[in-house]
């Protein structure tokens, strides 16, 4: 057993969880305001592509990050216009955006980025380096957590608390819940419903785009076709598992990140003498979410005006 649950596993967990936390919080911004957002997956994928392209063109991961946030916002704007102006079904719009992102990222990848040995992946780009916190990351208790992490991960660890505070303590936060729970009543109370919803959806574009950028600029260093690999849906699961609360969603994302880290660590090796198939470990977040949906873990209550 020695050395299985060590500092490295914790570090990997947090790294794996970072894009999940960012995307889940993005989904939260949109869904708390009443707009269903199953397009996270597409925004992550396009974000990853834009991050790779921007960094390849300029050499700067900051430009890549900005590009990722930019395409995240564009896709989010599409969702906002479709759902708020054209009154399109939120699910249909999300499905179309995921499909569009899958097609467009692959199409543009083939057109704009010369594939390395035709292997369907870009060459390695400049990445964000590990953040130094003035020695803080060397402290015994914190080193497992903070060693060799990029600033995006630190942001993902702080953001849930910030968002929690903003949702409960600011006028904007109260308005978001008013809109998400009963838009018609909120309008009668003078809340600018559309504006709040646009903000929420665009916020989801920013955070999901950043999640995509993380995959390229902090995790792998290159773009691969369909590299989001379902993370948008795991983030959605984390959001639901965490009952649409920032801390809950982040906690669930960390838990799901742990399964991924454990799966990477085990690589088919036995745990406590039992051979755990990787497929079953990878399946766990989805199974747990279904169990949560069954109400076995307490009552689930989505924002009441979600999807209208």
């Amino acid at each position: 057993m020695g050395g299985l649950f060590d500092a490295e596993l914790i570090g990997t967990t947090i790294r794996q969880a970072t894009p999940l936390i960012l995307a889940a919080l993005g989904g939260l911004l949109s869904e708390r305001a009443g707009v269903i957002n199953i397009g996270l997956e597409g925004k992550i994928l396009m974000g990853a592509f834009a991050a790779a392209l921007g960094t390849l063109l300029t050499g700067s991961p900051w430009v890549g990050l900005l590009a990722a946030i930019g395409v995240g916002i564009v896709l989010a704007l599409l969702h906002a216009v479709a759902t708020q102006e054209l009154k399109t079904d939120h699910i249909v719009s999300g499905v179309a955006i995921n499909l569009l992102a899958l097609g467009l990222s692959t199409y543009l990848f083939r057109q704009l980025i010369v594939p390395r040995e035709e292997a369907g992946e870009s060459s390695v780009v400049n990445m964000f380096g590990a953040v130094s916190l003035g020695g803080l990351e060397q402290l015994p208790g914190l080193s497992a957590l903070l060693k060799d992490q990029t600033w995006l991960t630190l942001l993902a660890l702080v953001l849930p608390f910030a968002l929690q505070a903003m949702l409960t303590r600011t006028r904007w936060g109260l308005r978001v819940d008013a809109v998400g729970n009963d838009a018609i009543k909120a309008r009668m109370m003078g809340v600018p419903v559309k504006q709040i919803r646009y903000l929420g959806v665009l916020g989801s574009g920013v955070l999901a785009g950043m999640a995509g950028a993380f995959l390229v600029l902090a995790a792998t260093g290159q773009f691969r076709e369909n590299m989001s690999a379902g993370r948008g849906f795991i983030a959605l699961a984390a959001l639901i598992f965490g009952r649409w609360h920032p801390l809950g969603a982040a906690g669930a994302a960390l838990g799901f990140g742990f399964f991924e880290a454990l799966q990477m660590r085990l690589q088919g090796q036995p745990l406590f003498g039992v051979q755990l198939p990787t497929d079953l470990l990878l399946m766990l977040p989805y199974v747990l979410t279904v169990i949560a949906l069954m109400g076995l873990l307490g009552k689930m209550k989505p924002p009441s005006d979600l999807g209208n």
Binding site: T88, D89, L99, R110, A183, I184, V290, L293
Partner: protein, 345 residues
């Protein structure tokens, strides 16, 4: 009628053509020539030495079969007001069970094929049950649970094919080939993948059309989908109708998987093409969820795909052109035809 129906359809066709033009031009391919190649891929004409109608229709008819079945899956559920994003997972489970029936069981010839297809359909229905149960009993959104079930199906079938059903004679993660008694005959001797599964798909479409539009049950399903509260008030057992419609939806998708195993792939393998389940969404929306029109929109979509694949094979243009057009088509149809009647949310 003209203004309400024909104009939006023409505009939609115009958008598709414009988008195709842009995507072809941006890929640096000659536009006129590319359109000829797309038409050739979709119909087989103009015929060349290397590529004729038999090649084109082999692909198109194969794709229609799957797109009609997954399109019906999405359409039947939507008629009851349920969004079945889970057709991909139901297809995978149906395919795996069909592969198991086709390889592991010894059933006399006339029964082996029908029982294998039936088992695939039942497996798909079973996979759809828990999501709809969660919906009617727990109020959990079926979109979320069917997405979860897609991934569970993906990993579960992968685990089963690697760990339990793998062909010992092969290194690849795949099952052995299904017995000859469980294989669907081809529509034409020159075809490699277009099987009589198409006949099954069209038969199912006609059957669902009759059932949905000519029976009390179908009327109640549609009433449930149109307005569940009103249907409840009128005495329709809406939870029951939703459950039944979703089981039918799962059966259609499971049948798609079984037909693909028995009529084209002859085995289940890692990376089995489950994305047809998502394509079914576009097919159903384009058809306005009408089972008979699903056949037509399934044909349009498979012609588009076959054309794009052919363009890819001939010129190297990205075949994702078809995916992008499909996404735009979904958005367009949803924005024009499926606007919410509710005033403002």
């Amino acid at each position: 009628m003209l203004k309400a129906r024909v104009l939006p359809a023409l505009l939609g066709a115009g958008i598709v053509l414009a988008l195709l033009t842009v995507l072809i031009a941006a890929a640096g391919k000659p536009i006129g020539e590319s359109f000829v190649i797309i038409v050739q891929g979709a119909t087989g004409f103009p015929r060349t030495e290397a590529f004729g109608p038999a090649d084109a229709w082999d692909v198109v008819l194969h794709d229609i079969t799957l797109l009609v079945l997954t399109g019906l899956s999405v359409a039947v559920a939507l008629q009851a007001g349920l969004f079945n994003i889970g057709a991909a997972g139901q297809l995978l489970v149906g395919a795996l069970v069909a592969a198991w029936m086709g390889t592991q069981t010894r059933i006399p010839a006339p029964l082996h094929l029908p029982l294998t297809l039936l088992a695939g359909a039942l497996a798909g229905a079973a996979w759809a049950f828990l999501p709809v149960w969660l919906k009617v009993r727990r109020g959990a959104h079926e979109v979320i649970s069917t997405i979860m079930f897609n991934y569970i199906a993906l990993y579960l079938t992968h685990w089963l094919v690697v760990a339990h059903l793998k062909d010992p004679a092969s290194d690849a993660p795949q099952t052995p080939a299904v017995a000859a008694t469980a294989q669907l005959p081809m529509l034409h001797e020159s075809f490699l993948q277009a099987s009589w599964g198409l006949g099954i798909a069209v038969f199912v479409a006609l059957g669902l059309w009759l059932v949905l539009y000519r029976t009390v049950w179908g009327y109640e399903v549609r009433a449930t989908g149109a307005n569940r509260d009103a249907a409840d008030a009128a005495g329709v057992p809406t939870a029951r109708r939703m459950t039944e419609a979703m089981l039918l939806a799962g059966a259609c998708a499971g049948l798609a998987g079984a037909v693909e195993v028995c009529g084209a792939q002859y085995r289940f393998f890692e990376g089995f093409p489950s994305e047809y389940g998502f394509d079914g969404i576009a097919v159903a929306l384009l058809a306005g969820n009408h089972p008979a029109l699903v056949v037509l929109s399934g044909w349009l979509m498979s012609a588009l795909r076959s054309g794009a694949y052919h363009l890819h094979a001939q010129t190297g243009a990205p075949k994702e052109i078809a995916v992008i057009v499909q996404a735009a088509l979904i958005l367009y149809v949803a924005a024009v035809y499926l606007r919410k009647r509710r005033v403002e949310g």
